[in-house]
């Protein structure tokens, strides 16, 4: 199952070159990029591990690509995503976030049905 989340989730995975250009755009906007990884890409899991600090003083996408290489080497079996944080007053949030690396064997999820009181059916997604 191909996990999709965040910006560009409807597109095929971006190549490193395309990622670098997205980062260039983010840097032009004054956003700080950061990398995060996890082995649990459940849509409700918002706590991914940080790969180092957000790159606040980054001037060029080459620096981010270096970090991404390192991160892939250290966690080949994890999902890695790239975030771009906008600190402008009123936004103060991620403006862009997309998956830049996925493990060779992707995580599988299944839909679980639960019978509640009065024939109420509750649905939840859980790891298969």
């Amino acid at each position: 199952m191909r996990i999709t989340q965040g910006t560009f989730s409807y597109l095929p995975d971006l190549t490193d070159e395309q990622t670098a250009r997205q980062v260039e755009y983010a840097l032009e906007q004054g956003w700080a990029v950061s990398l995060e990884y996890t082995d649990d890409p459940h849509p409700r899991n918002v706590y991914w591990e940080m790969w180092g600090m957000p790159m606040f003083d980054l001037k060029d996408a080459a620096g981010m690509l270096g970090e991404l290489r390192e991160c892939r080497k250290a966690h080949p079996d994890c999902y890695i995503k790239l975030n771009a944080f906008d600190s402008t007053r009123g936004f103060e949030t991620m403006r862009m976030s997309f998956i830049v690396h996925r493990p060779p064997v992707e995580a599988r999820y299944k839909l679980r049905r639960e019978e509640g009181p009065a024939r109420l059916v509750r649905y939840t997604i859980e790891r298969a």
Partner: protein, 299 residues
């Protein structure tokens, strides 16, 4: 090969000519430095022309080493270098990250690599300027972490030469020993540029620019006094070229301020003018006089 390219037009288009002319105008002396910069600029323009005609070649490695005594303008030129390389399209962003040993080398095992990587990451797309680079290598302590920083630097200088240019700076003799003990590093630095000391005439020309920058002017007598001051100061220990000159001018401003306060009433011309007495009050003259008296012996 078909098609031809007007190199002069290409040079004009890149706007490098302006930067180089500005360098000529604003920096006094430093002839070998300027010559080398022009050569590098020409090389990059020619490379651009080659690329335009479809001849593919690897980008030249432009890592440099600036050697020279203190105050000879190494940092100033490094700043310009970043702008020049940016205009020529060799580096993508054209910013300068200036660091010393403290910014690269960590305090304990495992601290150095992330620290050095962090700095390199910031410098990507621009120029990394490592001042007093020889402190990175401390042969007297074999467990020093400097070596680790050097190895990471070398790796990045080799593999990511498209992404950044590294400039080492320091005193000539100590840089030479540094490169001798790290031959791998020395061979990756293509351009060794030596910054000569300034002559008195050049220092005076620099002084003229400095006072204009400070919104002041030197009276004729003060100019002469400054000439004598520089001639004496140059012979003393710890002479740091333009930096010593700046300090001397700063002290002259202090004395001028005191003199003006004592005078009580001033006009604009007085506020702007540094007089000979402001400069002649310097200890450098006292020291020289003492030496002369000593030489003449007691009488």
């Amino acid at each position: 090969m078909c098609g031809s390219i007007d190199l002069k037009a290409l040079l004009a288009e890149s706007g490098v000519g302006e930067v180089l002319d500005e360098l000529d105008r604003e920096l006094v002396g430093l002839v070998p430095v300027k010559t080398r910069l022009r050569e590098i600029a020409s090389l990059l323009v020619v490379d651009k022309a080659r690329a335009a005609l479809g001849v593919e070649g690897a980008k030249p490695a432009l890592h440099m080493c600036f050697t020279g005594n203190p105050g000879t303008g190494k940092t100033t030129v490094a700043m310009r270098m970043a702008a020049i390389l940016h205009r020529l399209g060799h580096v993508r962003k054209g910013h300068l990250v200036a660091v010393t040993r403290d910014d690269l080398v960590g305090q304990y095992i495992g601290h150095t690599a992330p620290k050095t990587r962090e700095v390199l990451k910031r410098a990507m797309g621009g120029v990394l300027f490592i001042d007093e680079a020889y402190y990175l290598y401390r042969p007297e302590n074999e467990r020093d972490y400097g070596q680790e920083a050097i190895e990471i630097l070398m790796q990045v200088m080799e593999n990511q030469r498209d992404d950044l240019v590294v400039i080492f700076a320091g005193y000539k003799s100590r840089m030479d020993t540094f490169f001798q003990s790290n031959p791998g590093l020395g061979s990756r630095v293509a351009h060794h540029i030596d910054f000569p000391d300034y002559s008195v005439a050049e220092l005076e020309a620099i002084a003229d620019r400095m006072v204009v920058g400070l919104g002041l002017r030197l009276s004729d007598a003060a100019r002469q006094a400054l000439g004598e001051y520089l001639a004496l100061r140059r012979q003393q220990a710890n002479f740091a070229n333009a930096r010593s000159l700046r300090n001397a001018l700063d002290r002259a401003r202090l004395r001028q301020a005191r003199r003006l306060l004592e005078a009580g009433r001033v006009d604009a011309a007085m506020l702007m003018t540094i007089e000979a007495e402001d400069i002649r009050a310097s200890r450098v003259f006292d020291a020289a006089q003492a030496r002369d008296t000593a030489r003449e012996g007691p009488c």
